[in-house]
Protein backbone atom coordinates (compact mmCIF):
# COMPACT_ATOMS: atom_id res chain seq x y z
CA UNK A 1 0.00 0.00 0.00
CA UNK A 2 1.16 3.55 -0.70
CA UNK A 3 1.39 6.02 2.17
CA UNK A 4 -1.74 7.75 0.87
CA UNK A 5 -3.70 4.50 0.80
CA UNK A 6 -2.55 3.60 4.30
CA UNK A 7 -3.63 6.99 5.54
CA UNK A 8 -7.09 6.61 3.99
CA UNK A 9 -7.50 3.11 5.39
CA UNK A 10 -6.64 4.37 8.87
CA UNK A 11 -9.03 7.29 8.58
CA UNK A 12 -11.84 5.02 7.37
CA UNK A 13 -11.19 2.64 10.24
CA UNK A 14 -11.25 5.56 12.65
CA UNK A 15 -14.56 6.78 11.20
CA UNK A 16 -16.10 3.37 11.85
CA UNK A 17 -14.92 3.41 15.47
CA UNK A 18 -15.35 7.11 16.19
CA UNK A 19 -18.87 7.20 17.68
CA UNK A 20 -18.23 4.21 19.92
CA UNK A 21 -14.88 5.65 20.98
CA UNK A 22 -16.40 9.01 21.88
CA UNK A 23 -19.23 7.23 23.69
CA UNK A 24 -16.84 5.21 25.86
CA UNK A 25 -14.67 8.21 26.62
CA UNK A 26 -17.61 10.53 27.31
CA UNK A 27 -18.99 8.14 29.88
CA UNK A 28 -15.60 8.19 31.56
CA UNK A 29 -14.86 11.94 31.59
CA UNK A 30 -18.50 13.12 31.50
CA UNK A 31 -17.60 15.67 28.87
CA UNK A 32 -18.33 15.28 25.14
CA UNK A 33 -15.81 17.95 24.09
CA UNK A 34 -13.05 16.31 26.02
CA UNK A 35 -14.05 12.89 24.69
CA UNK A 36 -13.88 14.20 21.11
CA UNK A 37 -10.39 15.59 21.76
CA UNK A 38 -9.22 12.32 23.26
CA UNK A 39 -10.58 10.40 20.27
CA UNK A 40 -8.76 12.78 17.95
CA UNK A 41 -5.54 12.19 19.91
CA UNK A 42 -6.01 8.46 19.43
CA UNK A 43 -6.30 8.98 15.66
CA UNK A 44 -3.03 10.93 15.66
CA UNK A 45 -1.31 8.07 17.49
CA UNK A 46 -2.79 5.51 15.09
CA UNK A 47 -1.60 7.51 12.08
CA UNK A 48 1.89 7.43 13.56
CA UNK A 49 1.96 3.75 14.53
CA UNK A 50 -0.30 1.75 12.19
CA UNK A 51 1.74 2.35 9.02
CA UNK A 52 4.54 0.48 10.84
CA UNK A 53 2.58 -2.16 12.75
CA UNK A 54 -0.39 -2.66 10.44
CA UNK A 55 -4.02 -2.20 11.50
CA UNK A 56 -4.59 -4.12 14.75
CA UNK A 57 -7.07 -6.98 14.87
CA UNK A 58 -9.40 -5.04 17.15
CA UNK A 59 -8.92 -1.40 16.13
CA UNK A 60 -11.72 -0.14 18.39
CA UNK A 61 -10.12 -1.50 21.55
CA UNK A 62 -6.68 -0.31 20.41
CA UNK A 63 -7.92 3.24 19.85
CA UNK A 64 -9.72 3.24 23.20
CA UNK A 65 -6.59 2.14 25.02
CA UNK A 66 -4.46 4.71 23.18
CA UNK A 67 -6.92 7.49 24.02
CA UNK A 68 -7.02 6.52 27.69
CA UNK A 69 -3.21 6.19 27.97
CA UNK A 70 -2.77 9.60 26.40
CA UNK A 71 -5.35 11.07 28.79
CA UNK A 72 -3.56 9.54 31.77
CA UNK A 73 -0.22 10.99 30.60
CA UNK A 74 -1.76 14.42 30.18
CA UNK A 75 -3.42 14.36 33.58
CA UNK A 76 -0.20 13.19 35.29
CA UNK A 77 1.83 15.91 33.55
CA UNK A 78 -0.70 18.58 34.52
CA UNK A 79 -0.66 17.34 38.10
CA UNK A 80 3.15 17.49 38.24
CA UNK A 81 3.14 21.00 36.91
CA UNK A 82 0.51 22.21 39.33
CA UNK A 83 2.42 20.60 42.18
CA UNK A 84 5.52 22.61 41.30
CA UNK A 85 3.50 25.78 41.12
CA UNK A 86 1.55 25.19 44.27
CA UNK A 87 3.72 23.60 46.92
CA UNK A 88 1.36 25.04 49.52
CA UNK A 89 -1.41 22.80 48.39
CA UNK A 90 0.72 19.81 49.36
CA UNK A 91 -1.58 18.79 52.19
CA UNK A 92 -4.38 18.37 49.70
CA UNK A 93 -2.33 15.83 47.79
CA UNK A 94 -3.70 12.36 48.33
CA UNK A 95 -7.01 13.69 49.53
CA UNK A 96 -8.00 14.52 45.99
CA UNK A 97 -9.27 11.76 43.72
CA UNK A 98 -6.69 10.88 41.13
CA UNK A 99 -8.49 11.12 37.77
CA UNK A 100 -5.64 9.25 36.08
CA UNK A 101 -6.26 6.32 38.41
CA UNK A 102 -9.96 6.37 37.65
CA UNK A 103 -9.21 6.10 33.94
CA UNK A 104 -6.64 3.37 34.54
CA UNK A 105 -9.19 1.40 36.57
CA UNK A 106 -11.61 1.53 33.65
CA UNK A 107 -8.98 0.36 31.15
CA UNK A 108 -10.56 -3.06 30.68
CA UNK A 109 -14.20 -1.99 30.93
CA UNK A 110 -16.27 -3.01 27.98
CA UNK A 111 -19.74 -1.61 28.38
CA UNK A 112 -21.72 -2.64 25.35
CA UNK A 113 -24.34 0.04 25.79
CA UNK A 114 -21.99 3.02 25.68
CA UNK A 115 -23.08 4.10 22.22
CA UNK A 116 -26.70 3.83 23.27
CA UNK A 117 -25.88 5.93 26.36
CA UNK A 118 -24.35 8.65 24.21
CA UNK A 119 -27.36 8.60 21.87
CA UNK A 120 -29.78 8.96 24.79
CA UNK A 121 -27.64 11.81 26.16
CA UNK A 122 -27.42 13.67 22.85
CA UNK A 123 -31.22 13.30 22.53
CA UNK A 124 -31.96 14.39 26.12
CA UNK A 125 -35.26 16.32 26.35
CA UNK A 126 -33.39 19.06 28.23
CA UNK A 127 -32.24 20.17 24.75
CA UNK A 128 -34.39 21.62 21.98
CA UNK A 129 -35.26 19.23 19.17
CA UNK A 130 -32.95 21.13 16.77
CA UNK A 131 -30.05 20.98 19.24
CA UNK A 132 -30.63 17.27 19.77
CA UNK A 133 -30.61 16.63 16.02
CA UNK A 134 -27.43 18.66 15.44
CA UNK A 135 -25.55 17.07 18.33
CA UNK A 136 -26.64 13.56 17.32
CA UNK A 137 -25.51 14.08 13.73
CA UNK A 138 -22.19 15.43 14.99
CA UNK A 139 -21.22 12.88 17.65
CA UNK A 140 -23.02 9.73 16.46
CA UNK A 141 -23.28 10.40 12.72
CA UNK A 142 -19.81 11.92 12.47
CA UNK A 143 -21.02 14.72 10.18
CA UNK A 144 -19.03 17.97 10.16
CA UNK A 145 -20.74 21.15 11.37
CA UNK A 146 -20.58 22.40 7.77
CA UNK A 147 -22.45 19.31 6.52
CA UNK A 148 -25.06 19.71 9.26
CA UNK A 149 -25.47 23.41 8.43
CA UNK A 150 -26.06 22.63 4.75
CA UNK A 151 -28.49 19.85 5.64
CA UNK A 152 -30.57 22.18 7.82
CA UNK A 153 -30.26 25.10 5.37
CA UNK A 154 -28.45 27.03 8.10
CA UNK A 155 -24.94 28.41 8.41
CA UNK A 156 -21.91 26.91 10.07
CA UNK A 157 -21.48 29.38 12.99
CA UNK A 158 -25.13 28.90 14.00
CA UNK A 159 -24.84 25.12 14.03
CA UNK A 160 -21.42 25.19 15.72
CA UNK A 161 -22.83 27.40 18.46
CA UNK A 162 -25.92 25.21 18.81
CA UNK A 163 -23.68 22.19 19.37
CA UNK A 164 -21.39 24.00 21.83
CA UNK A 165 -24.41 25.15 23.86
CA UNK A 166 -25.93 21.70 23.83
CA UNK A 167 -22.71 20.17 25.18
CA UNK A 168 -22.55 22.83 27.91
CA UNK A 169 -26.16 22.22 28.89
CA UNK A 170 -25.50 18.50 29.19
CA UNK A 171 -22.35 19.14 31.25
CA UNK A 172 -24.10 21.55 33.61
CA UNK A 173 -27.04 19.21 34.14
CA UNK A 174 -24.62 16.40 35.00
CA UNK A 175 -26.32 13.91 32.71
CA UNK A 176 -24.93 10.41 33.22
CA UNK A 177 -24.24 9.25 29.63
CA UNK A 178 -26.23 6.14 30.37
CA UNK A 179 -29.41 4.49 29.13
CA UNK A 180 -32.12 5.46 31.61
CA UNK A 181 -34.01 2.72 33.40
CA UNK A 182 -37.51 2.38 34.76
CA UNK A 183 -40.23 4.92 34.12
CA UNK A 184 -37.85 7.48 32.62
CA UNK A 185 -36.79 5.09 29.88
CA UNK A 186 -39.98 5.24 27.79
CA UNK A 187 -40.09 9.04 27.76
CA UNK A 188 -36.40 9.31 26.91
CA UNK A 189 -36.71 6.69 24.14
CA UNK A 190 -39.57 8.73 22.67
CA UNK A 191 -37.21 11.69 22.59
CA UNK A 192 -34.55 9.66 20.74
CA UNK A 193 -37.08 8.41 18.18
CA UNK A 194 -38.41 11.93 17.70
CA UNK A 195 -34.92 13.21 16.85
CA UNK A 196 -34.22 10.41 14.38
CA UNK A 197 -37.55 11.00 12.63
CA UNK A 198 -36.92 14.75 12.59
CA UNK A 199 -33.57 14.14 10.86
CA UNK A 200 -35.30 11.82 8.39
CA UNK A 201 -38.06 14.30 7.59
CA UNK A 202 -35.60 17.15 7.21
CA UNK A 203 -34.09 15.13 4.36
CA UNK A 204 -37.39 13.77 3.05
CA UNK A 205 -39.16 17.11 2.93
CA UNK A 206 -36.43 18.58 0.72
CA UNK A 207 -38.10 19.04 -2.63
CA UNK A 208 -35.48 20.91 -4.60
CA UNK A 209 -31.82 21.76 -4.66
CA UNK A 210 -28.74 20.25 -6.19
CA UNK A 211 -27.22 19.65 -2.77
CA UNK A 212 -27.07 15.93 -2.18
CA UNK A 213 -26.56 16.42 1.56
CA UNK A 214 -30.27 16.68 2.21
CA UNK A 215 -31.36 13.34 0.74
CA UNK A 216 -28.38 11.83 2.51
CA UNK A 217 -29.97 12.97 5.79
CA UNK A 218 -32.59 10.28 5.16
CA UNK A 219 -29.82 7.70 4.87
CA UNK A 220 -28.21 9.00 8.04
CA UNK A 221 -31.52 8.72 9.91
CA UNK A 222 -32.05 5.21 8.55
CA UNK A 223 -28.56 4.28 9.71
CA UNK A 224 -29.31 5.64 13.19
CA UNK A 225 -32.57 3.68 13.17
CA UNK A 226 -30.75 0.50 12.14
CA UNK A 227 -28.11 1.02 14.84
CA UNK A 228 -30.83 1.56 17.43
CA UNK A 229 -32.69 -1.56 16.25
CA UNK A 230 -29.46 -3.54 16.64
CA UNK A 231 -28.93 -2.22 20.17
CA UNK A 232 -32.56 -2.35 21.36
CA UNK A 233 -33.94 -5.50 19.71
CA UNK A 234 -36.86 -5.74 22.14
CA UNK A 235 -38.38 -2.29 21.68
CA UNK A 236 -41.36 -2.37 19.33
CA UNK A 237 -41.47 1.35 18.54
CA UNK A 238 -37.80 1.32 17.48
CA UNK A 239 -38.82 -1.17 14.78
CA UNK A 240 -41.99 0.82 14.05
CA UNK A 241 -39.91 3.92 13.31
CA UNK A 242 -37.35 1.93 11.32
CA UNK A 243 -40.15 0.38 9.24
CA UNK A 244 -41.69 3.80 8.60
CA UNK A 245 -38.37 5.27 7.44
CA UNK A 246 -37.39 2.31 5.25
CA UNK A 247 -40.76 2.27 3.46
CA UNK A 248 -40.89 6.03 2.97
CA UNK A 249 -37.29 6.05 1.73
CA UNK A 250 -38.18 3.35 -0.81
CA UNK A 251 -40.07 6.06 -2.72
CA UNK A 252 -37.34 8.71 -2.66
CA UNK A 253 -36.42 8.29 -6.33
CA UNK A 254 -40.01 8.07 -7.53
CA UNK A 255 -41.26 11.18 -5.76
CA UNK A 256 -40.26 13.75 -8.35
CA UNK A 257 -41.30 14.06 -11.97
CA UNK A 258 -38.99 15.01 -14.85
CA UNK A 259 -39.60 18.71 -14.09
CA UNK A 260 -38.59 18.21 -10.45
CA UNK A 261 -42.14 18.63 -9.15
CA UNK A 262 -43.37 16.39 -6.34
CA UNK A 263 -45.62 13.52 -7.39
CA UNK A 264 -48.41 12.16 -5.20
CA UNK A 265 -48.51 8.48 -4.27
CA UNK A 266 -51.09 7.74 -6.96
CA UNK A 267 -49.03 9.54 -9.63
CA UNK A 268 -45.72 7.82 -8.82
CA UNK A 269 -44.23 5.17 -11.08
CA UNK A 270 -44.31 2.28 -8.61
CA UNK A 271 -41.79 0.24 -10.55
CA UNK A 272 -39.22 2.79 -9.35
CA UNK A 273 -39.87 2.07 -5.68
CA UNK A 274 -36.88 0.42 -4.01
CA UNK A 275 -37.92 -3.21 -3.41
CA UNK A 276 -35.07 -3.89 -1.01
CA UNK A 277 -36.10 -1.07 1.31
CA UNK A 278 -39.77 -2.08 1.12
CA UNK A 279 -38.80 -5.61 2.10
CA UNK A 280 -36.69 -4.30 5.01
CA UNK A 281 -39.56 -2.03 6.06
CA UNK A 282 -42.12 -4.83 5.99
CA UNK A 283 -39.75 -7.06 8.01
CA UNK A 284 -39.23 -4.33 10.61
CA UNK A 285 -42.99 -3.75 10.80
CA UNK A 286 -43.61 -7.47 11.32
CA UNK A 287 -41.02 -7.38 14.11
CA UNK A 288 -42.72 -4.36 15.76
CA UNK A 289 -46.05 -6.18 15.62
CA UNK A 290 -44.55 -9.42 16.94
CA UNK A 291 -43.19 -7.45 19.90
CA UNK A 292 -46.74 -6.34 20.67
CA UNK A 293 -46.33 -2.83 19.30
CA UNK A 294 -48.89 -2.82 16.48
CA UNK A 295 -50.69 0.15 18.02
CA UNK A 296 -47.63 2.37 18.53
CA UNK A 297 -47.80 5.68 16.64
CA UNK A 298 -44.76 4.85 14.47
CA UNK A 299 -45.88 1.26 13.83
CA UNK A 300 -49.33 2.49 12.75
CA UNK A 301 -47.82 5.06 10.39
CA UNK A 302 -45.51 2.33 9.06
CA UNK A 303 -48.54 0.05 8.57
CA UNK A 304 -50.19 2.83 6.56
CA UNK A 305 -47.06 3.25 4.43
CA UNK A 306 -46.97 -0.55 4.02
CA UNK A 307 -50.52 -0.57 2.57
CA UNK A 308 -49.27 1.61 -0.28
CA UNK A 309 -46.02 -0.33 -0.61
CA UNK A 310 -47.94 -3.60 -1.03
CA UNK A 311 -50.13 -2.25 -3.84
CA UNK A 312 -48.42 -2.81 -7.20
CA UNK A 313 -50.91 -0.42 -8.81
CA UNK A 314 -52.65 2.56 -7.18
CA UNK A 315 -56.03 0.87 -7.89
CA UNK A 316 -54.97 -2.13 -5.79
CA UNK A 317 -54.69 -0.04 -2.61
CA UNK A 318 -56.52 -1.57 0.35
CA UNK A 319 -58.42 1.57 1.40
CA UNK A 320 -60.61 -0.25 3.93
CA UNK A 321 -57.48 -1.28 5.83
CA UNK A 322 -56.06 2.24 5.55
CA UNK A 323 -59.33 3.65 6.93
CA UNK A 324 -59.23 1.29 9.91
CA UNK A 325 -55.54 2.11 10.56
CA UNK A 326 -56.40 5.82 10.61
CA UNK A 327 -59.22 5.06 13.08
CA UNK A 328 -56.57 3.55 15.38
CA UNK A 329 -53.92 6.20 14.72
CA UNK A 330 -56.43 8.86 15.73
CA UNK A 331 -56.61 7.30 19.20
CA UNK A 332 -52.85 7.27 19.84
CA UNK A 333 -51.87 10.39 17.90
CA UNK A 334 -54.85 12.76 17.81
CA UNK A 335 -54.37 15.57 15.31
CA UNK A 336 -56.64 17.43 12.84
CA UNK A 337 -54.31 16.41 9.99
CA UNK A 338 -54.72 12.73 10.91
CA UNK A 339 -58.49 13.34 11.00
CA UNK A 340 -58.40 14.83 7.52
CA UNK A 341 -56.38 11.93 6.12
CA UNK A 342 -58.81 9.60 7.84
CA UNK A 343 -61.70 11.30 6.04
CA UNK A 344 -59.90 10.82 2.69
CA UNK A 345 -59.33 7.13 3.48
CA UNK A 346 -63.01 6.66 4.43
CA UNK A 347 -64.07 8.37 1.19
CA UNK A 348 -61.85 6.04 -0.85
CA UNK A 349 -63.00 2.96 1.07
CA UNK A 350 -66.68 3.60 1.67
CA UNK A 351 -67.69 6.32 -0.77
CA UNK A 352 -67.91 10.13 -0.78
CA UNK A 353 -70.77 10.34 1.73
CA UNK A 354 -68.61 8.67 4.37
CA UNK A 355 -65.79 11.10 3.66
CA UNK A 356 -68.09 14.12 3.71
CA UNK A 357 -69.54 13.14 7.06
CA UNK A 358 -66.06 13.07 8.62
CA UNK A 359 -64.71 16.15 6.88
CA UNK A 360 -67.75 18.25 7.83
CA UNK A 361 -67.07 17.46 11.48
CA UNK A 362 -63.66 19.06 10.96
CA UNK A 363 -64.87 22.31 9.45
CA UNK A 364 -64.49 24.17 12.74
CA UNK A 365 -61.02 22.88 13.66
CA UNK A 366 -58.91 25.98 14.24
CA UNK A 367 -55.73 24.22 13.15
CA UNK A 368 -57.20 23.54 9.71
CA UNK A 369 -58.43 27.07 9.04
CA UNK A 370 -56.62 28.31 5.90
CA UNK A 371 -55.32 24.75 5.35
CA UNK A 372 -55.72 24.18 1.60
CA UNK A 373 -55.92 20.36 1.77
CA UNK A 374 -59.19 20.63 3.74
CA UNK A 375 -61.29 22.35 1.02
CA UNK A 376 -59.35 20.37 -1.63
CA UNK A 377 -60.41 17.10 0.00
CA UNK A 378 -63.99 18.29 0.49
CA UNK A 379 -64.07 19.38 -3.16
CA UNK A 380 -62.89 15.92 -4.20
CA UNK A 381 -65.57 14.18 -2.11
CA UNK A 382 -68.30 16.46 -3.53
CA UNK A 383 -67.00 15.87 -7.06
CA UNK A 384 -67.16 12.11 -6.54
CA UNK A 385 -70.72 12.53 -5.17
CA UNK A 386 -71.70 14.40 -8.36
CA UNK A 387 -72.34 17.69 -6.52
CA UNK A 388 -70.28 19.66 -9.05
CA UNK A 389 -71.27 23.24 -8.25
CA UNK A 390 -70.37 22.81 -4.58
CA UNK A 391 -67.15 21.01 -5.55
CA UNK A 392 -66.13 23.92 -7.75
CA UNK A 393 -66.53 26.39 -4.85
CA UNK A 394 -64.30 24.21 -2.66
CA UNK A 395 -61.57 23.82 -5.30
CA UNK A 396 -61.55 27.58 -5.85
CA UNK A 397 -61.28 28.19 -2.12
CA UNK A 398 -58.40 25.72 -1.89
CA UNK A 399 -56.59 27.38 -4.82
CA UNK A 400 -56.77 30.73 -2.99
CA UNK A 401 -55.12 29.18 0.08
CA UNK A 402 -52.19 27.69 -1.84
CA UNK A 403 -48.95 29.47 -2.67
CA UNK A 404 -47.33 26.62 -4.58
CA UNK A 405 -47.84 27.47 -8.29
CA UNK A 406 -48.14 23.84 -9.39
CA UNK A 407 -50.80 23.09 -6.78
CA UNK A 408 -52.73 26.24 -7.75
CA UNK A 409 -52.73 25.11 -11.38
CA UNK A 410 -53.90 21.64 -10.32
CA UNK A 411 -56.77 23.02 -8.20
CA UNK A 412 -57.86 25.53 -10.85
CA UNK A 413 -57.96 22.71 -13.39
CA UNK A 414 -60.10 20.64 -11.03
CA UNK A 415 -62.44 23.59 -10.48
CA UNK A 416 -62.80 24.00 -14.24
CA UNK A 417 -63.51 20.31 -14.67
CA UNK A 418 -66.65 20.85 -12.56
CA UNK A 419 -68.19 22.96 -15.34
CA UNK A 420 -69.75 26.39 -14.98
Amino acid sequence: MTAGETHRTIEATFRIERARLIAGLARLVRDIDRAEEMAQDALVIALAEWPRTGIPANPGAWLMTAAKRRAIDTIRRDTMRSRKHAEIARELDGAVDDPAEAIEASMDDDLGDELLGLLFTACHPILSAEARAALTLRVIGGLTTDEIARAFLSNEPTIAQRIVRAKKTIGKAGIAFAVPRGAERAARLASVLEVIYLIFNEGYAATAGEDLVRPSLCMEAQRLGRILAGLMPQDAEVFGLLALMEIQASRLHARTGPDGALLTLTEQDRTRWDRLLIRRGLDALARAEALGGADGPYALQAALAACHARAAKAEDTDWARIASLYDRLRDVMPSPVVDLNRAVAHCMAFGPEAGLKLVDALADAAALRNYAPLPAARGDFLFRAGRLAEARTEFEAAAKLTRNAREVAFLVARAEACGA
Partner: protein, 132 residues
Protein backbone atom coordinates in the same frame (compact mmCIF):
# COMPACT_ATOMS: atom_id res chain seq x y z
CA UNK B 1 -23.74 4.52 -1.01
CA UNK B 2 -24.57 0.86 -1.33
CA UNK B 3 -22.07 -1.82 -2.19
CA UNK B 4 -22.49 -5.48 -3.03
CA UNK B 5 -19.94 -7.63 -1.26
CA UNK B 6 -19.16 -11.01 -2.81
CA UNK B 7 -17.38 -13.71 -0.88
CA UNK B 8 -15.83 -15.72 -3.68
CA UNK B 9 -16.04 -19.49 -3.72
CA UNK B 10 -13.08 -21.64 -2.76
CA UNK B 11 -12.50 -25.38 -2.82
CA UNK B 12 -13.97 -25.64 0.68
CA UNK B 13 -17.25 -23.91 -0.09
CA UNK B 14 -17.57 -25.79 -3.38
CA UNK B 15 -17.06 -29.13 -1.63
CA UNK B 16 -19.56 -28.16 1.04
CA UNK B 17 -16.95 -28.36 3.79
CA UNK B 18 -18.56 -26.55 6.73
CA UNK B 19 -16.37 -23.89 8.37
CA UNK B 20 -14.91 -24.69 11.79
CA UNK B 21 -16.95 -23.70 14.85
CA UNK B 22 -14.55 -20.85 15.68
CA UNK B 23 -14.84 -19.55 12.13
CA UNK B 24 -18.62 -19.55 12.43
CA UNK B 25 -18.39 -17.67 15.72
CA UNK B 26 -16.02 -15.10 14.20
CA UNK B 27 -18.40 -14.59 11.29
CA UNK B 28 -21.34 -14.13 13.67
CA UNK B 29 -19.38 -11.49 15.60
CA UNK B 30 -18.51 -9.70 12.37
CA UNK B 31 -22.14 -9.75 11.23
CA UNK B 32 -23.23 -8.41 14.59
CA UNK B 33 -20.73 -5.57 14.27
CA UNK B 34 -22.12 -4.73 10.83
CA UNK B 35 -25.68 -4.74 12.18
CA UNK B 36 -24.82 -2.61 15.19
CA UNK B 37 -23.07 -0.08 12.97
CA UNK B 38 -26.17 0.16 10.77
CA UNK B 39 -24.13 -1.04 7.79
CA UNK B 40 -25.73 -4.39 6.88
CA UNK B 41 -28.74 -4.08 4.60
CA UNK B 42 -29.05 -7.67 3.43
CA UNK B 43 -26.99 -10.77 2.93
CA UNK B 44 -26.94 -14.54 2.57
CA UNK B 45 -24.67 -17.51 2.06
CA UNK B 46 -25.06 -19.52 -1.14
CA UNK B 47 -24.98 -23.26 -1.72
CA UNK B 48 -22.17 -24.86 -3.75
CA UNK B 49 -22.44 -24.57 -7.52
CA UNK B 50 -23.61 -28.21 -7.69
CA UNK B 51 -27.09 -26.89 -6.89
CA UNK B 52 -26.83 -23.87 -9.19
CA UNK B 53 -27.95 -23.35 -12.76
CA UNK B 54 -26.50 -21.15 -15.45
CA UNK B 55 -28.63 -19.79 -18.27
CA UNK B 56 -26.63 -18.91 -21.38
CA UNK B 57 -28.20 -16.04 -23.26
CA UNK B 58 -27.43 -15.59 -26.93
CA UNK B 59 -29.86 -13.59 -29.01
CA UNK B 60 -33.25 -15.25 -28.57
CA UNK B 61 -31.68 -18.55 -27.52
CA UNK B 62 -31.52 -19.68 -23.88
CA UNK B 63 -29.43 -22.69 -22.87
CA UNK B 64 -29.58 -24.03 -19.34
CA UNK B 65 -26.43 -25.55 -17.85
CA UNK B 66 -26.57 -27.45 -14.58
CA UNK B 67 -23.89 -27.03 -11.92
CA UNK B 68 -21.33 -27.81 -10.67
CA UNK B 69 -19.26 -25.36 -12.67
CA UNK B 70 -15.54 -25.55 -13.29
CA UNK B 71 -14.32 -21.95 -13.10
CA UNK B 72 -13.91 -21.47 -9.37
CA UNK B 73 -12.74 -17.85 -9.75
CA UNK B 74 -16.10 -16.80 -11.18
CA UNK B 75 -18.17 -18.31 -8.42
CA UNK B 76 -19.69 -16.74 -5.34
CA UNK B 77 -20.18 -18.42 -1.96
CA UNK B 78 -22.10 -15.59 -0.35
CA UNK B 79 -23.04 -11.96 -0.69
CA UNK B 80 -24.12 -9.03 1.40
CA UNK B 81 -25.30 -5.50 0.73
CA UNK B 82 -23.80 -2.72 2.82
CA UNK B 83 -24.75 0.91 3.20
CA UNK B 84 -21.53 2.89 3.74
CA UNK B 85 -20.30 6.46 3.36
CA UNK B 86 -17.69 5.66 0.69
CA UNK B 87 -15.46 2.92 -0.73
CA UNK B 88 -12.80 3.58 1.92
CA UNK B 89 -15.31 2.65 4.62
CA UNK B 90 -16.42 -0.42 2.66
CA UNK B 91 -12.79 -1.45 2.34
CA UNK B 92 -12.15 -0.95 6.05
CA UNK B 93 -15.10 -3.23 6.83
CA UNK B 94 -14.10 -5.83 4.24
CA UNK B 95 -10.60 -6.07 5.73
CA UNK B 96 -12.24 -7.12 9.00
CA UNK B 97 -14.23 -9.91 7.43
CA UNK B 98 -12.91 -13.11 9.02
CA UNK B 99 -11.54 -15.84 6.78
CA UNK B 100 -13.76 -18.87 7.20
CA UNK B 101 -11.95 -20.99 4.63
CA UNK B 102 -8.78 -23.04 5.07
CA UNK B 103 -7.78 -22.27 1.48
CA UNK B 104 -7.05 -18.87 -0.13
CA UNK B 105 -10.18 -16.99 -1.21
CA UNK B 106 -11.28 -13.48 -2.08
CA UNK B 107 -13.83 -10.83 -1.16
CA UNK B 108 -14.99 -8.31 -3.76
CA UNK B 109 -16.75 -4.98 -3.27
CA UNK B 110 -18.88 -3.63 -6.10
CA UNK B 111 -20.57 -0.22 -5.73
CA UNK B 112 -24.23 0.06 -6.81
CA UNK B 113 -25.20 2.33 -9.65
CA UNK B 114 -27.11 5.02 -7.77
CA UNK B 115 -29.74 7.42 -9.07
CA UNK B 116 -27.13 10.21 -9.11
CA UNK B 117 -25.07 8.20 -11.60
CA UNK B 118 -27.82 8.39 -14.19
CA UNK B 119 -28.70 11.71 -15.78
CA UNK B 120 -32.28 10.59 -16.42
CA UNK B 121 -33.28 7.04 -15.50
CA UNK B 122 -34.90 5.39 -18.48
CA UNK B 123 -37.22 2.41 -18.32
CA UNK B 124 -34.50 -0.04 -19.26
CA UNK B 125 -32.25 1.29 -16.53
CA UNK B 126 -34.67 0.77 -13.69
CA UNK B 127 -33.59 -2.76 -13.11
CA UNK B 128 -30.00 -1.59 -12.82
CA UNK B 129 -31.11 0.72 -10.00
CA UNK B 130 -32.41 -2.25 -8.09
CA UNK B 131 -35.92 -0.87 -8.18
CA UNK B 132 -37.54 -3.74 -10.09
Amino acid sequence: MRVMVFVKAGEDTENGVPPAAEAFAAMDRFTEELVNAGVLVAGAGLKPSASAKRILVDGAARTVIDGPFAEMREMVAGFSIWEVKDMDEALAWARRCPNIMAVPSAVEIWPFIEAEDLAAPRDGERSRLGVA
